[in-house]
């Protein structure tokens, strides 16, 4: 054991030095790289809204996501080039199953590289699909502590990152990275995320409002390895510190690489 001790020390200190030398953007790029290649995702989830006085409301939804083209998305090989007019971005579609009054209400989101993201909300009672404006994206999604902005997969090119520190959270060693949006209509001045050093998955994020006051905290729990490669949290809890409300999101069924294509993420699919 003593023969290996110096080696252990060497690798330990080298590893620590390596981690400290990682910038915020490098950590985020590594996270993106590890989360790339799943092609598409489908999940069924339950959303529990807890009011400031403890009152509860349950919702159930189906969530679908298509990974951006060039990363194995659209059901095409990663080498197939997408139109150069609009660089590819992720697409997602949420449809509510319960309760009855919001059944079939859906949200379609397009992540765009060089301009604001697009979101459409379908209201079945009115038979209409509505556009969500820039300011509207910072509003609450169906009364939950998730904003419309939270439901668009973040594009790392739209943020500035700063490595803050390294510390333990939830029994795991984590990088702490601060993110500041470069776009003007974000609901947040910054977010601070705890990213595990072993698998580069986010386990906690603190959100700050436009006056840089603590707004809410999201915990990503029950990290599960799917398809032997991709980590997914099966529970996300968001606690709002300013209004004392909370939203718990639990995933009950999850599958990757379902064969989705771009045609499954259109306004026609949203309204079907």
């Amino acid at each position: 054991m003593m023969r290996y001790f110096p080696a252990i020390l060497f690798f330990l200190f080298t590893g620590m030095a390596h981690a400290q030398s990682l910038s915020g953007i490098e950590i985020m790029k590594e996270q993106e790289l590890r989360n790339t290649g799943y092609r598409d995702e489908k999940s069924i989830g339950q959303m529990l809204l807890i009011g400031s006085h403890g009152e509860k409301t349950e919702r159930e939804f189906e969530f679908r996501k298509l990974e951006k083209s060039g990363a194995g998305g659209d059901g095409e090989a990663a080498s197939v080039a997408r139109s150069s007019r609009i660089p590819g971005g992720d697409k997602s579609l949420i449809k509510f199953i319960k309760p009855v009054d919001i059944q079939r209400t859906g949200l379609l989101s397009y992540q765009n590289k060089n301009r604001n993201d697009d979101q459409w909300l379908f209201l079945p009672a009115m038979g209409k699909t509505k556009r969500i404006s820039g300011a509207g994206k910072s509003g609450s999604f169906v009364g939950s502590e998730f904003s419309y902005e939270d439901l668009i997969p973040p594009d790392i090119d739209k943020y500035d990152y700063r490595f803050v520190k390294q510390e333990s959270f939830g029994g795991s060693d984590c990088f702490v990275v601060e993110s500041r949006p470069r776009f003007t209509d974000s609901a947040y001045s910054k977010t601070v995320s705890w990213i595990r050093t072993d698998n580069y998955q986010t386990v906690k994020t603190d959100f700050y409002d436009l006056k840089e006051r603590p707004l809410k905290t999201a915990l990503f729990e029950n990290l599960t390895l799917t398809n032997n490669r991709f980590w997914r949290p099966l529970k996300i809890s968001v606690k709002n510190h300013q209004n004392n409300k909370q939203t718990d999101l639990t995933i009950s069924a999850l599958s990757l690489d379902n064969g989705f294509k771009g045609d499954d993420f259109t306004q026609m699919a949203l309204e079907r």
């Binding site: 404006s133 300011a135 509207g136 009364g143 045609d263 499954d264």
Partner: protein, 440 residues
């Protein structure tokens, strides 16, 4: 029953029967929904008659959706509506009963359906596919289902267009719009030169070859702008009116139907914190026989003149408003090129301004408040509508709604001032429950 001829009943029963046998040949999920509601509506105007002063409505709505999650779907929404004070308002037929075959790129469907065209919040001139239930309400009449066969095909991306979609629809059967009778709240009665007139109940329908309607829509997103163009050819689903003398020599108002070609567009685009909207419809009646009816009191025929209706506007959203709520402010202009006020062009919203607010409390009770005002820019006519609804216990909802009308007594041919002041307040309780069941 008035306004619901035999083809609608046959289609509805066919789909219901198909819905019953479908589980035996397919497996996927079944969604059902049941929503009973009770509402009491009180008019401020005292007509001196118990029966028509107020409305007390019990409604039972059902929703059944069967989807094999591959390519077939049925959507049936039966309903029963009973007004304990006015049985002419009772309704039993569904407005939506559809059978659909779909793939990722397209779908084919048939059945009873209500179609919604238009992006404006206050008034949708392009929304002409369905006839309206004027017997029930004339401020905001309900759309009634039409028998429609349709085909839709889309491209995720086609050149500069995202979500390019083409929709074709055929409306093979023509149905008359329900109109209020003389002893109801909104009688179509009045006088001309001191001579009283009332509604002539026989509606002058289109001949069989002319009763088929067709519609086409093309929609796409270009950069961040949602665009759609609409075309409709066929009988206008809601009647025009002509004055006639009946067999007894009385002056009567006869509803009649005419052919219309509608070319419309809708544009919606988020710009920063705004969402810009623009809706327009050009309506052409040139293909009608110029003298299809005897019109003793009009210079020309009673077919409306060609006209263009435009509704530009925008909305702006404030978040974290008054305690973490979301406030949406809406501003729209409702205009028409033709401002004439003759009987042949008896239409509202020719030169009006709409200002609206929508406040979402963002709470677990889905509480929402809406307020909107339409004001004529030339005369004193105005309408205000407010809605407040919230869950009070689980899925039990309570809603209050009100419409307040300010008429201009100097106007005779305005749809707003033609009727009595039918301002009202409404309270409604409703409870919705349902389930999605996996069917193996």
């Amino acid at each position: 029953m008035k306004g619901h001829p035999e083809p609608c009943r046959r289609v509805a029963w066919f789909l219901f029967a198909l819905f019953l046998i479908w589980p035996s040949v397919a497996s996927a999920y079944l969604e059902y929904k049941i929503e009973p509601s009770f509402e009491h509506l009180s008019f401020f105007l005292n007509r001196g008659e118990y029966r028509i002063n107020d409305q007390e409505t019990f409604e039972l709505k059902f929703g059944f959706v069967y989807d094999n999650e591959k390519n077939f779907k049925t959507d049936l929404q039966p309903r029963f509506k009973i007004d304990f004070r006015d049985f002419s308002r009772n309704r039993y037929l569904p407005n939506d009963a559809i059978l659909k075959y779909y793939q990722a790129k397209g779908e084919i469907w048939g059945g009873l359906q209500t179609i919604t065209w238009g992006v404006a919040e206050s008034f949708n001139p392009t929304d002409i596919i369905n006839r309206r239930d004027f017997e029930d309400n004339y401020y905001d009449p309900e759309k009634l289902g039409e028998v429609i066969g349709g085909f839709k095909y889309g491209w995720n991306q086609a050149g500069p267009f995202d979500s390019l979609t083409l929709t074709f629809m055929v409306l093979p059967f023509f149905q008359e719009a329900p109109l209020p009778e003389d002893d109801t709240r909104f009688p179509l009665t009045g006088s001309i030169g001191g001579i009283p007139y009332s509604l002539f109940e026989d509606q002058d329908k289109m001949g069989t070859p002319q009763s088929v309607g067709g519609a086409f829509e093309i929609s796409a997103t270009v950069k961040n702008v949602d665009l759609s163009f609409h075309f409709y050819h066929g009988p206008e689903r809601n009647p025009g009116f002509q004055l006639i003398i009946d067999d007894n020599g009385a002056l009567r108002l006869q509803p009649f139907y005419y052919l219309i070609d509608m070319i419309g567009f809708n544009l919606e685009a988020p710009v920063g914190n705004f969402v810009l909207r623009f809706e327009g419809a050009g309506k052409i009646m040139s293909f009608n026989d110029p003298r299809p009816h005897d019109i003793p009191f009009e210079d020309n025929n009673a077919v409306p003149s060609n006209h263009l209706q435009l509704v530009p506007g925008f909305d702006y959203t404030f978040t974290d408003f008054a305690g973490k709520g979301t406030m949406r402010f809406i501003f729209e202009y409702l205009g028409e090129i033709d401002h004439s006020t003759s009987l042949r062009d008896f239409r509202p919203f020719k030169n009006d301004l709409f200002v609206g607010f929508q406040y979402d409390f963002n709470n677990t009770r889905s509480t929402q408040l809406k307020l909107g005002v339409i004001k004529d820019l030339v005369n004193q006519e105005a309408m205000m509508k407010f809605e407040f609804d919230t869950k009070i216990y689980r899925e039990l909802k309570f809603a209050i709604e009100g419409v307040f009308v300010h008429r201009d007594s100097t106007l005779q041919n305005s749809p707003i001032s033609f009727f009595d002041n039918n301002s009202y307040l409404l309270g409604r309780f409703s409870y919705a429950f349902g389930e999605r069941v996996e069917v193996k």
